[in-house]
C-alpha cells in the first residue's frame, strides 16, 4: 500500500534569484541565472557563485543577536518571505506549538563565524574573540534552533546534516516523526550559506568550474557553489487534497566512496526506485525529474546511468543548478519547492547554460523551458558520504477553478 501522503501546506524560498517564491518562478520562466563571478568576502577564486544579496548588511538583533551569522541571517530572510510565518501561526493554533516538529538540513551551518574568529585569534594566547558564540552560530543545530525560536515552536527538533542530501532527507524524517506520533505537523527546511570552507574545499577537490555550471553539457567542468534558505510546512493530506503532496521518498547509501558517486549510480537508482515504490507509482507516470545535476563530470554521468536505469531515456529531466548554483544542504528543499512551482504552474524548466548535451549521457535532458501540465515529479539530492535521497511529489489531476495555468506572471 502506498504511504500516507503529506501535504505541503505552505512554503518559501530564497536564493540567488532573490527572496521569495515569485523571484524564483520569474527567473525560472525567463531563463535568468542568479550566478555571478565570485565576489564573496575576499575569496580569490576563479569560479562563479550564487550569492544572496544584502546579507552582509542585515545583522540579527535583540533576542536573536547571539545567532548572528550569515547562515542565520539567510534563514531569517527566508522565514520572512511568502507569509510563511503567518501560515505557521495558523498551524500553531491548530496543532499546538509543541506538536509541530522542526527539521532543518544544513551542511556547514554557521562555520563562517568560526572562520572569522580564527582570523582574529590573539597572537599570544591563540584565543578567539570574546564575541564568538559557537553554540548559536557554528554548531550544526544552530539554524534549527534559530528557526524554531523564530517561529515560536517547541516540538521535536533536530538538524539533519548529510551534506548535499540534508534538506531532502528532512522531508523523509518529518514523515517518520509524524508517523511515529512525535509530532502532528512539521516545518522542514534547508539553509546553507556561502563560506570559505566550502568555496576553498570544493576548489581543493577540483570540483568548481571557472564558468557558470553547465549540467549534462559535453564541456561541463564542475559546479558553482550557491546559497539558499527554503522551508515548507507539512501536514497529513486530506482525502481529495488538491495541494502538492509528498507521495514517496527514497533514501540509500552508496557504500562506495566518500566523495565520488558510484560510477553506475547504483545507490541513486535505489533511492529513486524506493520513492516510486512507496508511492506505488510506475516510472512511466512521472512527468518530470529535477536532477541533482551538479555539473561535475562524474556526478552527472553517475546520475545519468541511474535515471536511465529506472526511467529509460524518455522522461523529461533537467538540472536547475544553472539558476541557483549548488546550494548544498539547502539543495533538497530548494529543488523540492522548484518541483512544487513546476507542478502548480505547468513548467518544465530547461537546463540553463547547457549548450551541447553530452552524447554519452542518455537521460531525457531538457535544455529549453517547456510548458506542460504535470501531475508527478521527482527531485534528486545526493551528497558526500554516498548519501542519496529522492522525493516524489504530485498533485491531483483536476485543476482548481481560477488556478494559474502558467500564462503570464504569477
Amino acid at each position: 500500500m502506498a504511504i500516507k501522503p503529506l501535504a505541503m501546506a505552505a512554503c518559501t524560498l530564497t536564493n540567488a534569484l532573490g527572496p521569495g517564491l515569485q523571484a524564483s518562478l520569474r527567473a525560472l520562466r525567463r531563463g535568468e541565472s542568479g550566478l555571478r563571478p565570485c565576489d564573496f568576502e575576499d575569496a580569490d577564486l576563479k569560479t562563479w557563485i550564487g550569492r544572496v544579496a544584502g546579507l552582509e548588511e542585515e545583522p540579527l538583533h535583540g533576542e536573536f543577536a547571539p545567532f548572528d551569522c550569515r547562515n542565520n541571517r539567510l534563514a531569517r530572510l527566508g522565514l520572512e518571505q511568502d507569509e510563511f510565518g503567518a501560515a505557521v501561526r495558523i498551524a500553531r493554533n491548530r496543532y499546538g506549538a509543541d506538536r509541530i516538529g522542526v527539521f532543518v538540513g544544513t551542511s556547514t551551518s554557521g562555520i563562517g563565524a568560526t572562520e572569522h574568529a580564527y582570523r582574529q585569534r590573539d597572537l599570544v594566547t591563540g584565543s578567539v574573540p570574546a564575541t564568538f558564540d559557537y553554540q548559536h552560530t557554528h554548531n550544526v543545530f544552530s539554524v534549527t534552533d534559530f528557526t524554531r525560536r523564530w517561529l515560536g515552536l517547541t516540538g521535536a527538533a533536530f538538524a539533519i546534516s548529510t551534506a548535499c542530501s540534508s534538506s531532502a532527507k528532512a522531508f523523509a524524517a518529518a514523515w517518520r516523526q509524524m508517523r511515529a506520533g512525535f509530532c502532528d505537523a512539521a516545518v522542514v527546511g534547508g539553509v546553507d550559506s556561502l563560506c570559505l570552507t566550502t568555496l576553498y574545499g570544493f576548489n581543493a577537490l577540483g570540483l568548481t568550474s571557472p564558468r557558470p555550471c553547465r549540467p549534462w553539457d559535453l564541456e561541463r567542468d564542475g559546479l558553482s557553489v550557491g546559497e539558499a534558505a527554503g522551508f515548507a510546512l507539512l501536514e497529513w493530506a486530506e482525502p481529495g487534497d488538491e495541494r502538492v503532496l509528498l507521495l514517496g521518498y527514497g533514501e540509500s547509501s552508496d557504500a562506495y566512496h566518500m566523495t565520488a558517486a558510484h560510477p553506475e549510480g547504483v545507490g541513486a537508482a535505489l533511492a529513486m526506485q524506493q520513492a516510486l515504490t512507496r508511492a506505488e507509482v510506475p516510472p512511466e507516470q512521472v512527468d518530470y525529474i529535477n536532477l541533482h545535476g551538479t555539473a561535475t563530470p562524474l556526478n552527472d554521468a553517475a546520475e545519468d546511468r541511474a535515471v536511465v536505469r529506472v526511467f529509460g531515456p524518455d522522461t523529461p529531466c533537467s538540472s536547475t543548478k544553472g539558476w541557483t548554483g549548488h546550494t548544498l544542504g539547502a539543495a533538497g528543499v530548494t529543488e523540492a519547492i522548484f518541483v512544487r512551482l513546476c507542478l502548480e504552474h505547468s513548467l518544465i524548466p530547461g537546463t540553463l547554460n547547457t549548450r551541447q548535451r553530452d552524447p554519452k549521457l542518455g537521460a531525457g535532458i531538457v535544455l529549453e523551458n517547456r510548458e506542460r501540465r504535470l501531475r508527478l515529479a521527482l527531485s534528486n539530492s545526493f551528497g558526500f558520504g554516498g548519501s542519496n535521497c529522492s522525493l516524489l511529489f504530485g498533485r491531483s489531476p483536476s485543476p482548481r477553478v481560477g488556478e494559474s495555468r502558467g500564462e503570464g506572471e504569477p
Binding site: Y118, N139, R176, Q177, Y200
Partner: protein
C-alpha cells in the same frame, strides 16, 4: 507502536571500555574509575581508509562495530542513525586554521571529512550497507533526538536500526566555547520486532515537565552532563541493572524524553 527492543550495545569512554566490561560499573556494583581510553582500531575499515581517519570516525565506528559483533548480524543490512552535537571538530579546526594562511591550503581530505555524515559514509563503505542512514544534531539533546529518530525509522521500516551517538572534546580555541569533558561513544541496536533474546525493552514517551535524571556517581554524572552522547547514561545504567524502571533523558531546553525500561 511505541516499543523497541535493544539487542546489543557498543560503548566507549574513559573507564567504560565496551558494554560487557562496563556493566558492573553502570549497575553500581563497581565504582567508576576514569582511565585513559585504549586506542580504538575500527578494524572493519579497509587498511587504506584506516590510515586517514580521525579520532571521531574511529570512536563512532568502534561502538557501531561492537554492537553489530555482539548481535552477530550482517551490518550490511541494518539502516543507521548517527547523532552528534559537534561532528568532527578536529577536522573543522584544521580547515579554519588553513583558511587563515596564505593561499588558504585547505586539504581535500579534510574537506570531505568535514561533513557531519563522515562516520556514516565510512561505516557504509566498511559494511557495504546501502540502506537509509541519517546523521543529525540537536546540541545537548542529540542522543534523545537520535533515539527518537532511530525509533521512528525502525517502526517505519519494520526493521532493525543501529543508533550511534558520539562526541569528543573540541580542540582549542573552540574548546573554550563548548565544553565537552571526555570522549563518549555509544551504539544501540534496536529492533521493533521485540525478540525474546534482548537486553532491554524500551517504551518512549514525552517526559513532560519532569527534570532529566542525574546519576549518583559523581564521575558518571560529570560525564553525563559533559558530553551530549553521555546523556544516554541513565538509560545505559537502567539496562545494566536489568530492573524495570523509567528514566528521563534531557531532550532540549526544558523538554525531556521519558523511557520506560524493562529487561
Amino acid at each position: 507502536m511505541n516499543l523497541l527492543a535493544v539487542e546489543a550495545v557498543g560503548l566507549m569512554a574513559p573507564g567504560l571500555v565496551g558494554w560487557t566490561a562496563s556493566q558492573a560499573v553502570l549497575a553500581g556494583q563497581r565504582s567508576y574509575v576514569v582511565e585513559p581510553m585504549p586506542a580504538t582500531m575500527a578494524t572493519l575499515l579497509p587498511a587504506n581508509e584506516r590510515r586517514r581517519i580521525t579520532a571521531t570516525i574511529k570512536l563512532a565506528l568502534q561502538v557501531a562495530q561492537e554492537a553489530m559483533t555482539q548481535a552477530d548480524l550482517d551490518a550490511g543490512t541494518v539502516p543507521t542513525i548517527f547523532a552528534s552535537s559537534g561532528g568532527d571538530s578536529e577536522v573543522l579546526d584544521k580547515i579554519c586554521t588553513a583558511l587563515t594562511q596564505p593561499d588558504r591550503p585547505v586539504s581535500p581530505t579534510h574537506f570531505h571529512q568535514s561533513v557531519h555524515n563522515t562516520p556514516a559514509g565510512y561505516w557504509a563503505i566498511a559494511t557495504g550497507c546501502m540502506g537509509p542512514s541519517l546523521s543529525l544534531a540537536a546540541y545537548d539533546s542529540s542522543f534523545a533526538a537520535g533515539l527518537r529518530e532511530a525509533a521512528a525509522l525502525a517502526w517505519a521500516e519494520q526493521a532493525r536500526v543501529l543508533l550511534v551517538a558520539y562526541d569528543l572534546p573540541l580542540p582549542a580555541p573552540m574548546a573554550g566555547r563548548r565544553k565537552i569533558v571526555a570522549p563518549f561513544g555509544v551504539a544501540l541496536l534496536l529492533n521493533p520486532a521485540l525478540p525474546v533474546n534482548r537486553l532491554a525493552l524500551l517504551r518512549l514517551a514525552s517526559g513532560g515537565d519532569e527534570p532529566a535524571d542525574r546519576l549518583d556517581d559523581a564521575g558518571l554524572e560529570r560525564l553525563r552532563a559533559g558530553n551530549p552522547a553521555a546523556r544516554s547514561l541513565p538509560l545505559l545504567c537502567a539496562m545494566a541493572r536489568r530492573a524495570a524502571t523509567r528514566v528521563i533523558l534531557s531532550a532540549g531546553d526544558n523538554a525531556t524524553l521519558s523511557v520506560e525500561v524493562a529487561p
